[in-house]
């Protein structure tokens, strides 16, 4: 496990542009063969138009960050990607969300099946009021996954989430006894236990301290080798540190109603977004001139 010093947890703002050094990772300008795509995605909550015409492609084994001011629809877009928006009364979606070319909003698609492939980690750690072991085993059990040895699967998931060493002696204890950061990694372990393809994360570190944040970030970079990760974050340093590509959203007030509808401003390699963005609004936001 990598240890993080506070220096690399918080690079100062001026060095943000260089904070993400692409190193050996050479990525094409556009994701080739994307795992997921949104096509002209529009989301409504009742009459309220929350998100307008989002077109995004999420590359395989990449980390895509979605950033932007509060209320611009990042979570909304994220929740469309595994149909969690179905659970909100009055929410409705237009356009398409493609997963390996298949529109997950088509009538014959079972949202339960979608969610087993596309897992989600939430802003606030939300372990179940059960033992650590049962938290991990829950997903495989409810989805009827064929498991030869649950103990092995639990260990594998906990190792995958870099939590095994900390909890291996207290698997039967309540998950509520863990620290916030450990709980969040438990939630990640719980998600990877069902062997998803894509992991969605909605501000996964916003409730964590810098050290726990650094650990989750390290974990994300490791998980990238096996999973496709899409992360919403308010922390621009975090986007710069972990993501391969960044999508910047903003909200535009409607001239007649004054409702703020979210839209995608710019989508590019993270190194580009943070060093020379094309759009003035992106630059203003990243350089802190816009809240």
């Amino acid at each position: 496990m990598a240890s993080a010093t506070s220096a690399d947890t918080f690079p100062n703002m001026s060095s943000l542009g260089e904070a993400h050094i692409d190193g050996e990772r050479r990525l094409p300008a556009q994701p080739t063969n994307p795992v997921m795509e949104t096509r002209d995605l529009n989301v409504f909550y009742g009459d309220f138009h929350a998100v307008h015409d989002v077109n995004l492609a999420y590359g395989r084994h990449e980390i895509t960050a979605m950033i932007g001011p509060s209320g611009c629809g990042k979570s909304t877009v994220l929740r469309c990607l595994n149909r969690m928006n179905d659970l909100i009364a009055g929410a409705h979606v237009e356009g398409g969300v493609l997963y390996h070319g298949q529109d997950i909003y088509e009538k014959n698609v079972d949202p339960i099946a979608v969610r087993t492939q596309i897992g989600m980690v939430f802003q606030k750690p939300n372990p179940f009021p059960k033992s650590i072991y049962d938290n991990i085993a829950y997903g495989p059990r409810v989805t009827g996954m064929k498991v030869d040895n649950m103990d092995d699967l639990v260990e594998e998931a906990l190792r995958g989430a870099a939590l095994w060493d900390e909890v291996k002696d207290k698997l039967k204890q309540s998950a509520y006894g863990l620290s916030g950061g450990q709980q969040q990694r438990l939630c990640i372990a719980r998600t990877i236990a069902t062997k998803p393809d894509v992991i969605l994360m909605d501000e996964p570190c916003s409730a964590l301290d810098p050290i726990a944040t650094a650990r989750v970030e390290d974990l994300m970079l490791e998980l990238r080798n096996e999973y496709t990760i899409i992360v919403v974050t308010h922390n621009m340093q975090q986007a710069a540190r972990v993501s391969d590509r960044t999508a910047f959203f903003t909200a535009r007030p409607d001239e007649t109603t004054g409702n703020r509808t979210g839209l995608l401003v710019e989508y590019d390699l993270t190194s580009t977004i943070f060093s020379n963005p094309n759009d003035k609004r992106t630059e203003d936001y990243i350089s802190g001139r816009f809240g």
Binding site: L87, A89, F122, N126, Y138, V142, T143, R190, T191
Partner: protein
């Protein structure tokens, strides 16, 4: 002084004791205290008075004997106590699964915007305020529909009491279910669990302490009820123990009701003692509810 401290001081000045001591607010305070005092004192006086009336009869025969007109000084409430226990058991058996199922449906599955569900919602609120006797009539009607001639049996009494406490159980279960955070449900659903699995494996287990508390409070109300049982036609006194759902039965409050107006001093004395027994049973149930609530209470 820091800004925070200054603000705090202003708030204290604005709401502090000094302003609470106007004559009007003092008078109001005294009125409140008096109301509280009055309620408690009347209740205490009643209990003490009853206890003194029944003081001669706090013996084991009070629990183990049947009512006896021949030997009133050795009369006991065995049939009523056992009857009440049987009734509670079957009441719980009927009301708890039904109440939980109804509450889960309303909270987790129903669409609250449809007309039908709003209708159910409004009715539920009102049901809790319906006089107990009405549930007795309802039970008689149901028993008649089921083809029972004699309704004064365990099944009939339990049915009336189950109907009586169903709204209480539904309302408390809904509250307990609502207290389970949305994040838990979302976490479960995001793993690919169905709504049904989520309800069964997450929401319901987390709500069980609340459900248990509500159920016991419901039962402690049912155990003291005589009116619906009178309507159902339970006997005021029996000389045998209940033996099954179809067996004739009496209940402790029924026996008390029939003996308090008896002309014999010894029987009235026994009734007073039985009231204390009933009170102890109710208090016991309430204590159990409080114990469960404190023991399993979870702060999310």
């Amino acid at each position: 002084m820091s800004i925070a401290a200054t603000t705090a001081r202003q708030v204290t000045l604005a709401t502090g004791k000094s302003k609470d001591r106007t004559p009007v607010s003092l008078a109001f305070l005294v009125a409140l205290w008096f109301s509280l005092f009055f309620g408690v004192v009347v209740l205490l006086a009643l209990i003490i008075n009853t206890a003194i009336d029944g003081s001669g009869r706090f013996d084991i025969e009070l629990l183990t004997n049947y009512v006896s007109v021949v030997r009133p000084e050795a009369t006991g409430f065995r049939a009523g106590i056992l009857g009440s226990l049987w009734l509670m058991g079957f009441t719980a058996l009927m009301a708890v699964p039904l109440g939980i199922a109804a509450a889960l449906y309303l909270e987790e599955f129903a669409d609250p915007t449809t007309r039908w569900n709003r209708f159910v919602e409004v009715n539920l609120q009102n049901l809790a305020a319906v006089p107990a006797i009405v549930y007795g009539l309802l039970a008689v009607a149901i028993m008649a529909l089921l083809g029972f001639r004699d309704t004064g049996i365990v099944l009939g009494g339990a049915l009336a009491l189950a109907l009586l406490i169903l709204p209480v159980i539904i309302i408390t279960t809904r509250e307990a279910v609502r207290a389970v955070p949305r994040e838990i449900r979302e976490g479960s659903l995001a793993l690919g669990a169905t709504v049904w699995q989520t309800t069964w494996r997450q929401t319901l287990p987390s709500a069980i302490p609340g459900i248990a508390t509500g159920t016991i409070l419901g039962l402690s109300r049912a155990i003291g009820e005589a009116a619906p049982l009178v309507v159902v036609g339970l006997a005021g006194s029996l000389l045998f123990d209940p033996e099954g759902v179809m067996s004739s039965v009496t209940a402790l409050p029924m026996q008390i009701y029939s003996l308090t107006s008896n002309s014999r001093e010894a029987l009235r004395e026994a009734a007073s003692a039985a009231i204390i027994v009933l009170l102890a049973m109710v208090l016991g149930l309430n204590a159990l509810a409080i114990f469960i609530r404190n023991k399993f209470q979870r702060s999310w």
